[in-house]
């Protein structure tokens, strides 16, 4: 069965690329454009991995991450994406329970490899 990827970002341009990349790898994808929708979609879709942007309308990525960790599946992988990339922010992301933290702009190949690695049970 194909792995399921939930993409949470409010910028359609980057979503287009992410969706394309994930589908090409054979993953099933869904998209959520803000924090509240992300939590709903995670409940419905039960993804294996979430690509989660930090800067979101309503509920930010940290909150979503904390919420997912509090209620979601324990084997859910979370990759946080951010344009800020401050050291303190990364520390907070890791404290919130993210498995990886990727700063925009990123190399698409590296992101794809990272996702594959996490889905295979790596860290």
């Amino acid at each position: 069965m194909a792995s399921k990827v939930l993409i949470v970002d409010d910028e359609p341009n980057i979503v287009t690329s992410l969706e394309f990349l994930m589908r090409r790898k054979g993953y099933e994808t869904r998209v959520a454009a803000d924090g509240d929708l992300a939590l709903e979609e995670a409940e419905r879709f039960q993804p294996d991995i979430v690509l989660l942007d930090v800067m979101l309308p309503r509920r930010d990525g940290f909150e979503v991450c904390q919420q997912l960790r509090a209620t979601g599946r324990s084997d859910l992988k979370i990759v946080m994406l951010t344009a800020k990339g401050r050291e303190t922010e990364i520390a907070k992301g890791m404290a919130m329970g993210a498995d990886a933290y990727v700063t925009k702009p990123f190399s698409t190949r590296e992101l794809v490899d990272r996702v594959a690695h996490l889905l295979e049970g790596g860290s």
């Binding site: 509920r59 940290f62 909150e63 904390q66 050291e87 303190t88 520390a91 907070k92 702009p105």
Partner: protein, 707 residues
Amino acid sequence: MNAKAKFALALAILSLAVGAGVALLAVGVWSSVSPGDQAVLTRVLREQAALVATGGLLLLAGLGALVALFFRLYVAAPRRLATETRLIASANPDHRLEVRGPGEVRELAVAVNELADRYRSARSDVEGQIAAARADLEQERNRLAALMSELTLAVLVCNVEGRILLYNAAARQLLDRPVGLVGLGRSVFGIVDRSLIAHALACVRDGSAASHPAMTARGDKLLRVQIAPVAAEGGELAGFVLTLDDMTRRAEISERRDALLRALTEGTRASLASIRAAVESMLDYPEMEPEQRRRFVEIIREEATGLGAQVERAMSESSGYLHDQWLLADMLDRELLTALGRSLDGEAGVRASIDEPGDERWLRVDSFALVRAVTHLAGRLHAERGVDEIGLAVRGVGRHAELDLRWLGAPLDAETLRSWTEQPLGPGGIGAATLKEVVERHGGELWCQDEAGRGAYVRLLLPLAEVAPGPPPVNPAVGDQSRPEFYDFDLFGAAEHAPAWDERRLDELAYTVFDTETTGLSPSEGDEIISMGAVRIVNGRLLRQETFEQLVDPRRGVSAASQRVHGISPELLRGQPTIEEVLPAFARFASDTVLVGHNVAFDMRFLQLKEAQTGVRLTQPVLDTLLLSAVVHPDHEEHSLEAMAARLGVSVIGRHTALGDAILTGEIFLKLLRLLVAQGVVTLREAREAARRTYQARVSNSLYTRG
């Protein structure tokens, strides 16, 4: 008239009176008896002449003894009382009169003793009050000096002539380049332009502001000067206070921010242009050859990667100055915790318990805003979650510190915490109005988690100071000197128009006491100075904070013999400034002061030989402690520094460095000054003349040797 003369006179008068009485009696008896009886009397007297004479002498002796007794009791005793009373009044208030002699004298002595008792207690009262007042004043001054030394702002207080009465360590650090500009009694106009100060004072006088700001440049530094007048009692100008702030870094920050902005706007345009051109070419010519298309795609990737790298670079460079850096200051974690604890207890109504940090860490924080924001958070916890006790702890992680607030109870959900962080903190802060803004300004983060069943915590990530600041400035009030030397308000009243050097009193002159170390003893044969040390004396105080110390590259070898004395090796001197650079700096340090040295002719010879080469001529008067010692102690033959120090009770430390010897010489010189004044040598002229006389005496005795 002395007591003996008085006694003799009294005795003579009494004898004459008694003689006259006897004679009158005899004449009366003689005239009242008959001629026959007169003949009988004559005969009897003649026959008994020896008896009559003896009687007369006995009478005189009796009279003498009586007068002597009377004198002792009623004349000599009061005189003694008078002398001793004077002793009590002038020298020894504890002395008391001996109560003896006749009643009246005893009564007088008792009365004087009573008076002496009252006098003594009144006097000790007054002395106590004076001592207390002086101690108070001293304490005030020390407090002021301590306060000043803690200020990071440079402060200079000047009298109306522009002479510096007070400066702090920050002022010296900021302004004392070249060395010797900042010092007690020195003119501030060497540091800040006179017209700038005059202009600022005029602005203050005309306007309503209490002080006037101005900008000035000094070397590579940009300074903001704040000038405030000090009014005397009558309202006229007594002096002014300057505070100086180094704006260089701020100017630098804003310059770099500008540069960053330029790089991000102009710099990115070129890359964007390339990308856009490539993309539009591909869109407009879909039929282009695959090779051409591949090249365009390659261009887009290259430019985008470049843009990413550029942004990355800008981020890492700007992290230091994108925030309002000057509100952030370095603070010890322990101090931050203490401040937070106090505020939580007092403002939020929460008991704070502090985990003492194991090792100290310097945080870079706006402590006022941070304490206010965290107190707000604690207040919410108390009001809405009933939290009564909060544990505070700081831990360092990488380049950040984790500040934790822990409590027993459920953690806050993210929504609640977010709403609290966006609540206004209330009036009073600068810049940041919410907890969120405070955290952002620190470049920090904040979140809440639960602690595996042991309660919950809010964690604040805060930046650590990049470099641990050096040790805090030594508080001059607790140094080895009981009285710090950063100020001298007595200079407020210092003589305004100084008379010529020679007529000035020794105790009101400023001195530069100096010493040199040399490669050898013969300047005319090419020996050179290798080290100079100097210390200033102003208003009778040795200013240990105002010193000059410099090694000098002699551009020649150092003789083994002299190396044994001063221990300075040739390697140490390589790369040091040369005498052409050092001597002008020394001249500046010593300007407006009398030069003092031990066997100073030796040092002056070296300096004079450098006049042509360096263009520095020291024209001020010179005093020699060796010669002054000979003036004060003509009977001693030993006038070396050690011998004088031992004689005058000065302890000898750090000899044979130029500065160490200069300080020792300065201490000895101060003792010599007091002894000179006691000998009636008061003015500089008198001191120089006395020194010249002993010099001639010493030369003729061939005793003038290097001390």
